[in-house]
Structures are given as C-alpha cells and as structure tokens.
C-alpha cells in the first residue's frame, strides 16, 4: 500500500480557467492509496513547494503526484522538492494538465474530465514507482566546439581562458566564418576584420585550443561527460607541420579555382589560402582545379616548396577525441535564390546577393573595395530587396532578422562609395536592437529612398539593355512601381548550413521546421538541446546578429563549463536492466540497441546491460519477448498500470 499525496496547481488562471482544480483535488482524495490531496495557486512557488514538503512529513507520504504543467517544465524542480523532504526523486509523478489540457480546451467540463483521467493514470502508475539511484560518472574535462565562426571562436576562447582544453573543429581551411567575409558591421560601422582577426589570432596562439581546420565530425558515440568523437581530417595535400607559410607555392600555381571566399566573384589559385588574414596561414590544394590532379603533371608547387611540405599522396585521416561537452555553432547559408526566377539572380549579372555585396565593399575583396559591377561599371542606381525567400509562406516563414539592418548598412556604404540612387524595398523595417533605430533614422537622412513594398519582380529593361526594372507595389501609396536600376541586391533568407542536417543526425539534435536546431526550451533553456551535454550557439539555432551570436556563444560556453567543471556528474537513473531469471537468450536486445549497451554473456546464456552506455530509450524492453528487461521508470507494469488508470474513467 502506498501513501500518495496529490498536489493540484492552479497556475494562476492558466489551469484553473478550464479545469475545476478543487474538484480535481476532491476527486483525487477518493482514489485508493491517496492520503492527501490539495490544490494551490502556484505549486512551484516557495509556499507551494513548502506545502508539499510539509505534507510529505506530516502524512508520511511515499509517493507525490504534482498535477500541474508539463514535466518538461518543472519535473526537475519538483524532484528537488521531494528529495529535500527525504523522498527519492523518482517517486514523483507529474500530471500535465496545463500544456496538454487547460491550454488546449475552452470547455471546463472537458478539461476537468480529462484531468481526472490523467490523474487517475498517474495514481495507478505512482503505486508502482520504485526509488532509483542516479548514476555518477566521470566527466571528461575537455570541450569540442563545432564551427569556427564568431560563435565558435568566442565560445572556444571563453572556455580556453578558464583553463579547459577545447577542440575547435572547422570544415573550411580557415576559421572566421561569415563574419570574416563582412566589411563593416551595423550599426556602428566598425570594420569586421578589425574586431574579428585578433580573436582568430588568439585562437591560433591559445595553448588550450586545438584548432582542427578542414575537418569534419564523422562519428559521435557516448553521452554527456564522455563523448567519443571521430573527426575526419580532409586531405590538404600540404603537410602543415612542415609548411612555413611562405606562400611561394600560391604564386607559382597555374591552376584556377573559384574563390568561395569571394562568393565566386573571382578566381583563386588551386593551392591557396582563402584570404590574407586566414588562420591558419597555410595553404591547401583544391583537388578539383589542381592541374596535377586533373592532368597528371605540373607539381610546380612541389618544386618551389623548400620545406618539402607538398604531399600529393596525402589521404583523409581520422582523429579520435574525447570530450565532456559539445557546443554546436555551425552557422548559416544564404538561401539559394536561383529558383526564385522572378528576381533574375544568376540570369542578370546586375543581380547580387547580400554576401556578394559584402565582398564588393571589402578592401580585401575582388574589387579591392570599389563598388563596381560584373561589367566593371559603377552602378548609378541600386535597389535593395528585403525578405527574399523569408517571411514568405512559399519558402521560409521566418524572419531572417539581420537583413533590414545590413540593408541599411549597404545603403550607407553605397552612398559613401558611389553616387548612386539607393532604393530600399521592404515589408517592415525591423530595427529592434541597441542603436538600430538610431541607425535607421540616420539613413533616412542620407537620401536613401524607402519604399514600403516587397520587390515583386526584376526584369531587364526593353529600352535600355543591361538596365534592370524592379517591380513593386508601394503599399503606402498603393501605387504599382517600376524602378529602373543598374544593380539589384537581394537579401535572401538565412537558412541553416546544408551540412547541419548531418551534424544534427550525428548528435541527435532535433530541428525546427526551417532546419534550425531546437533548443530545449525557447525561453528558459535557449542554448541547451534535448541531448544532454550538447549546446547550440549562434545562427544555427535561428537567425541573429553578431551581438546576439556572441552573447549566445558566451552563454553556451558557460553551460558547457557547468558540466566539465566537475569531474563527476549524475546521470538519469532511467536505464534498462535484465532480469537474468527471465532472459531467454534470444539476443534481440543486443541486435537492436543503437548504443551497444546490452551484451550477451555466453557463459550464463543471458544478456547483460552496460548501464554506462544505456540511454534509457526502452527499445530493448519492447523487443524482449520474455519481458526480462526492465526499463526503469518505464517498466511494463508501470506503463500498463498507467494505461489502465487512463482508461478507467
């Protein structure tokens, strides 16, 4: 016989509005084994918590049911509460009558009836709960950061400065990310390189950071505190341990590849560093365009290299590292706007996307900072089109957040560097950031033409070949407009990196509809993920500007630190175990477990589960034909009992 206490929360009116909470408590009191049932305004408040603790002692409770919000919200809170009152934390059951009842109905009859059924299920389940002991594991003190843009760099530096060893993995041959491509940053217009490159250099110099450029994460095993990561070092064909960065090779190389760094606006050598301030300052060979790889002869670079660092035989290698926590900062791509044929990107040379324009402004860019178009001419009139593919139900519903501001920045820079007329075609001007509205106001005074209306189409002028016509409706005047311009700048939707899907899969991260990584909670745990020990920072979680990205990076570093700062940690006790007396030796569990937790003891002819590897999914329990596997906290009995309770009323 259990002694169950039931505590029904009103959550102000959040629950009480559509569930008769006092009736629910009265109902609970009639259920077998329930010795006390109460309702209270805010169960998670201090008086609420104290009431639970008081009643545990007064009524000698051995099970507690909190009927409130989702367990994903407050399970941890109430576990602490009962633990502090001397009860094992796993003897708590949460009944979710807010997210899954009161908030999804307007009918108090329905809401109350469903709450009773759910509560009854919880009572059935609570009776069968068993106290569990959390596992304590050793924690590896190192951290891996995936992606070395500003978010990854900032997080890595922060952690390294606390003395933790950081592996910074970057798929490109240099760190820096998108920020290194920018010229100025809004709203302050400080030079992007000036604020970023010192950090890049810090990374290079930092004794606690192992920089793994031109690398990809190819395998992840283990769990929080003990991740085993396999990293693929892609072949560079240059032995960086020998290379002294003289770059003689890049001068001699006859090969011509497309400069990814300059958004394909120019060519680069086949052996190259992406840009002058690249870190590491050592070249790689682009196999696709290298004359030797294509034609079988050349090897000019090899001839000029005094260090004998060129190695055409180099293969991809694999590096294994162990870390305790992971920060994912894989950043973004711009949406490919070619399929949006109405804007003519890829068809008309005068249509640019925003990153290309960033490079045009950049003094290290293809035009050395002069705004000239693909035909070499300076544009006389420019239209900047906001929200291309974003805030658009046909493509991406989300707002890309930074486009308004960088478009204003572009307008300013165009005004500064050319004499062109600049048009801004926007839906709404979103300038909600520190100093942003001020920046917008400043631009209004810089003779930029603001048209409230989304650019609908870009066509070629029939009268003046080469000139473009931007069609739009000015929604303020309700006038349809055709604006002749030389240059069109598209602000495409910001989307997650194409590769982030693979990373997500490797790390078990959920993604939202747009493919951005899902945070554990949108407000209270914006940097944590559903995978314990894995954190997210920067645009891979959702579009944001540099200040927010840096703030998230710092936050993620702090979150990771909370794990690796301890040498031990507690894990959920909800693992599976085998009852050897019932095991029939079919080895189904061994066959299905994604983590290799069950193993077969050939001597005893039974399966055994290595609890350190078990993540508690319960798959083994459901494939066990003889019900020998006990999925702790979700045992067959507990689930069956809960079902019975749910179906009784």
């Amino acid at each position: 016989m259990s002694r169950i206490g039931v505590f029904v929360c009103h959550c102000g009116l959040n629950i009480a509005k559509t569930v008769r909470v006092s009736e629910l408590a009265e109902f609970a009191a009639t259920l077998p084994d329930v010795v006390v049932a109460k309702d209270y305004k805010f169960m998670c408040s201090t008086p609420g918590q104290e009431m639970i603790q008081h009643d545990i002692k007064q009524y000698n409770l051995d099970r507690v049911i909190v009927t409130a919000c989702s367990p994903l919200m407050h399970e941890k809170t109430f576990r602490k509460v009962i633990e502090n009152a001397g009860l094992n934390q796993y003897l708590l059951t949460i009944v979710n009558i807010r997210e899954q009842v009161s908030w999804v109905t307007t009918d108090i009859e329905e809401g109350t009836a469903k709450s009773k059924a759910l509560l009854n299920g919880a009572v059935y389940r609570a009776r069968l709960l068993a106290p569990l002991t959390s596992r304590v594991i050793d924690v590896n003190p190192d951290v891996m950061v995936i992606g070395a843009g500003i978010a990854g760099i900032q997080a890595a530096l922060e952690l390294a400065n606390t003395g933790k060893k950081v592996y910074l993995v970057e798929k490109n041959s240099t760190i820096g990310g998108h920020m290194a491509q920018f010229d100025k940053t809004f709203p302050t217009l400080d030079c992007s390189a000036c604020i970023l490159t010192p950090k890049m250099d810090n990374v290079l110099q930092h004794k606690n950071i192992t920089m793994l450029t031109y690398c990809e994460v190819s395998g992840v095993k283990g769990y929080v505190g003990n991740f085993d990561i396999t990293i693929k070092q892609k072949a560079r064909y240059v032995d960086h341990s020998k290379c002294n960065a003289c770059l003689a090779c890049t001068e001699k190389c006859p090969g011509k590849g497309v400069s990814e760094w300059d958004e394909a606006l120019v060519k680069r050598k086949s052996i190259y560093i992406p840009f002058p301030q690249a870190v590491p300052q050592k070249p790689i060979i682009d196999r696709e365009s290298c004359t030797f790889f294509k034609k079988g002869k050349c090897r000019l670079c090899e001839k000029v290299c005094e260090q004998k660092a060129i190695d055409f035989e180099q293969q991809d290698t694999f590096i294994d590292v162990k870390v305790g926590a992971i920060i994912v900062a894989t950043g973004f791509d711009l949406m490919d706007t070619k399929p949006l044929v109405q804007y003519g990107y890829g068809k008309y040379p005068g249509v640019y996307n925003s990153l290309e324009v960033e490079r045009l402004f950049n003094s290290a860019g293809p035009t050395s900072g002069k705004v000239t178009m693909r035909d070499g001419k300076e544009p006389q009139s420019i239209a900047i089109l906001h929200c291309i593919g974003s805030r658009d139900k046909n493509h991406h519903e989300h707002c890309s957040r930074v486009c308004c501001m960088y478009s204003l920045k572009f307008a300013h820079l165009f005004k500064e560097k050319t004499s062109a007329d600049v048009y801004q075609l926007y839906i709404d001007m979103r300038a909600a950031g520190k100093g942003y509205e001020e920046f917008y106001n400043r631009l209004s005074e810089e003779n930029v033409k603001f048209i409230r209306g989304k650019g609908a189409r870009v066509t070629e002028s029939t009268e003046e070949p080469g000139r473009l016509i931007v069609e739009a409706e000015d929604t303020i005047t309700s006038k349809f407009m055709k604006i002749p311009v030389d240059m069109v700048v598209l602000s495409p939707a910001i989307v997650p990196r194409a590769e982030s899907k693979d990373i997500g899969r490797l790390l078990n991260l959920s993604t939202d509809k747009q493919g951005f990584f899902m945070e554990r909670h949108p407000k209270l745990a914006p940097l944590s993920t559903m995978s314990e020990g894995i954190f997210i920072a920067g645009v891979c979680q959702g579009p944001k500007d540099i200040p927010d990205t840096v703030a998230q990076a710092l936050g993620a570093a702090a979150e990771a630190l909370t794990i690796v700062v301890n040498d031990k940690m507690e894990l959920e006790a909800t693992t599976a175990m085998v009852n050897p007396a019932s095991c029939c030796g079919c080895q189904n569990c061994v066959r299905v477990c994604p983590y290799g937790a069950p193993g077969f003891n050939y001597e005893k002819r039974v399966s055994e589960i290595n609890e350190a590897l078990c993540k508690g999914c319960g798959l083994c329990a459901s494939v066990c034909p003889s019900s020998a596997i006990i999925a702790r906290h979700f045992t067959n009995e507990q689930v069956l009992a809960e079902m019975e309770g749910l179906m009784e009323f």
Binding site: M1, L31, P32, D33, A581, E644, M647, E648
Partner: protein
C-alpha cells in the same frame, strides 16, 4: 429400477432434466466431444467414444472465483462467492471417469480439507454413468483395466446407462438415482429382456479389454520410488516431452491449481485456476528458485505423484487409465508405457 428410452429421443430426457436443474452432457465440438452445460436439449450427443476433456470440470471448474474485492477498500467489504446451486445432472460419464470422482473426493471432500465448492457441486449432482460401447473397438490408448476398472462398471454412478442397439437402458444404482429415475416419467419401463441384456452387458464389460499390465499399487509405488534417482531412465522417458499442460488439463485426476488475483479498474477477483506440474513455472518459488527446471524432473513428478506418492499417502493410484493424456499428447508420450518400463527398470 431399469428404464429405457430410444437414443433418438434423448433430447426429451434432456429437456426433462433441464427443467429439474442444470444438465451437463457431452456435446459435439468441431472434432471432438466435451461436457458442457446444455441450453439446447438437441445438442446432447451420445455418439462419442470419450470426451476430450475429463468431466472433472463439473465439480472443479478451470476457474473458480472465491472472492471479489476492491483495491483500497477494507477486507470486510470483500464479497465471498457463494454457490447457489440447482440440482445438476452429469450425463454420460464413462466408468473410468466416474471412478476418478471418488479419487478426487479424497482431496476435496474427505477428512483434512473440505473444499466447499467441490462438495456443494458434488452433492448437487446426480451422475449418469455410461458404459463404453463394447461392440466397438477399444481405443489403443486406453488402459483402465490396468487400474481395475471395466468398460461397464456401474460403481460410483447414481444411474448407469448401457446402450442396447438404438435404445438406452438406465439402471438406478444409488437411492438418489432410484428416486430420480422414478420421477422420470418420460422414460419407458424396461422389459425383462432388457434386464437380462443389462446384466449380460455388465458381465461382458469385463471381457472388453484395454491394455493391461498387472499392477499392484504397493509394488509400483515402491518401484517408482526406487528409481527416483535413475536420471537416465527419466531423461529417456521425457526426451520427447514438450512440457505442455494438455495431459494434466485433460486428466480426470489432476487437481493442481494456482490462486490468482486479477484486478481491473480497481475491482479484483481472487480465483482458483488449473495449473499443471508440467509447466516450468509450476514450482517457481518467490525467491526465484525453481526446484524442477528440467523436463525429466517434471515428468518424473507427474508419474511419481500418480503412481507412488498418492499410493503412499492415500492408498490408491491417482489414475483411472482413461487414456486421455496419451491420446492428446502432441508427441505421443504414453504413461502406460512409462509404467511398463518402470516395472522393468
């Protein structure tokens, strides 16, 4: 008293008995006959050799509810099942099966433990024994002769029936049977020819031979005890055994049961459900220990219980040679052959 009826009119007799109480009689199922409570008198069917399941379920049903209770409510609120029985008629029981009731009485209705459920049913029931048809061949699995039972043994029946061509002769054996038979006006009076036929039939029953081995209960009891440790013997005997429960479930003398508590939506029932010593979990103890994990141990237990322990304790073999276990066994294990082999071992 001897009465008779045409077999084709058996449903009329059934209808009369149904008016008086509950009638349990053989009915034809897809490929066998079984005793069942009759709701349609036309369903009574005497064209059977013997039923698949023994008639023990008339007194000892597969499941017997004892107590109904509510989870969380005090014991005082629990309801005990009380049997309110109408008179019952168990119709068409073969002599070996009739004999089994007497053996089962030892366990349920004799000094020591009296099972109210068994007793109530037993007392409410009038048994119509039914001689084997001695004009038909005997089934090769039967061996009731070995246990001293014959094809037309009236002993133990209240009324005993023999088949005469297309007629059924009914003879009262006990005062209870006599009283009932007198009340059954639907039946015709038997002629003196019938009387003679009946007497002859009973006599001829002795010559209707099943398999037979001379078994003295004391001798076999001692013998089986002596080979308890002969693992080779038992392993060999049980090599084919699958450990299913059909032999024990169909046996008229197996009486093991399990007490089960089943609850649904807070309402519970405590009941007695047949169990079988051939099941692996039969002897599973709460500690997890199981003294009989091997097939040979379980088969040895079954044979020893019937032919040795039961003799030691109650003086009789707990087997009537009805042949059901042999007939139903999916792998043709034959307890008669085991006994024969044991005697030679």
């Amino acid at each position: 008293m001897l009465k008779k009826t045409a077999i084709e009119n058996i449903s009329q007799l059934a209808a009369v008995l149904m008016e008086k109480g509950t009638l349990l009689a053989p009915v034809k199922e897809v490929s066998c006959h079984n005793f069942a409570e009759i709701s349609d008198p036309q369903k009574v069917d005497l064209k059977f050799y013997n039923t698949l399941m023994s008639p023990k379920s008339a007194f000892f049903p597969h499941r017997e509810d004892f107590v109904k209770y509510k989870v969380g409510k005090p014991l005082s609120e629990a309801e005990h099942t009380i049997l309110n029985l109408k008179p019952a008629f168990l119709f068409g029981v073969r002599p070996c099966d009739v004999k089994s009731f007497e053996i089962m009485d030892i366990h349920f209705n004799a000094a020591g433990i009296i099972d109210p459920y068994w007793r109530a049913r037993r007392e409410a029931t009038t048994i119509f024994g039914y001689a084997y048809d001695i004009n038909q061949p005997v089934d090769s699995a039967d061996f009731y002769n070995t246990l001293g039972i014959y094809a037309a043994d009236p002993e133990g029946s209240d009324i005993f029936m023999v088949k005469k061509d297309k007629e059924l002769l009914l003879k009262s054996i006990t005062p209870k049977g006599e009283k009932l038979l007198a009340e059954l006006s639907a039946l015709e009076k038997a002629s003196s020819g019938d009387e003679k036929y009946y007497e002859d039939y009973i006599k001829k029953g002795k010559d209707y031979k099943t398999r037979f081995t001379c078994v003295d209960s004391e001798v076999i009891a001692k013998k089986i005890e002596s080979i308890f440790d002969n693992t080779d013997f038992w392993t060999k005997m049980s090599a084919a055994c699958l450990s299913c429960g059909i032999c024990t479930f169909s046996c008229p003398n197996c009486y093991c049961f399990d007490i089960c508590d089943d609850t649904l939506f807070g309402k519970g029932t405590r009941s007695r459900v047949w169990d079988a010593c051939m099941f692996t979990d039969f002897t599973l103890e709460a500690s997890g220990h199981n003294p009989r994990t091997q097939v040979y141990q379980r088969l040895r237990q079954k044979v020893s219980h019937k032919y040795s322990y039961h003799v030691r304790k109650y003086g009789v073999i707990s087997c009537v040679g009805c042949g059901r276990c042999t007939r139903q066994c999916p792998v043709n294990i034959d307890i008669y052959s085991i006994i024969e082999a044991a005697l030679k071992a």
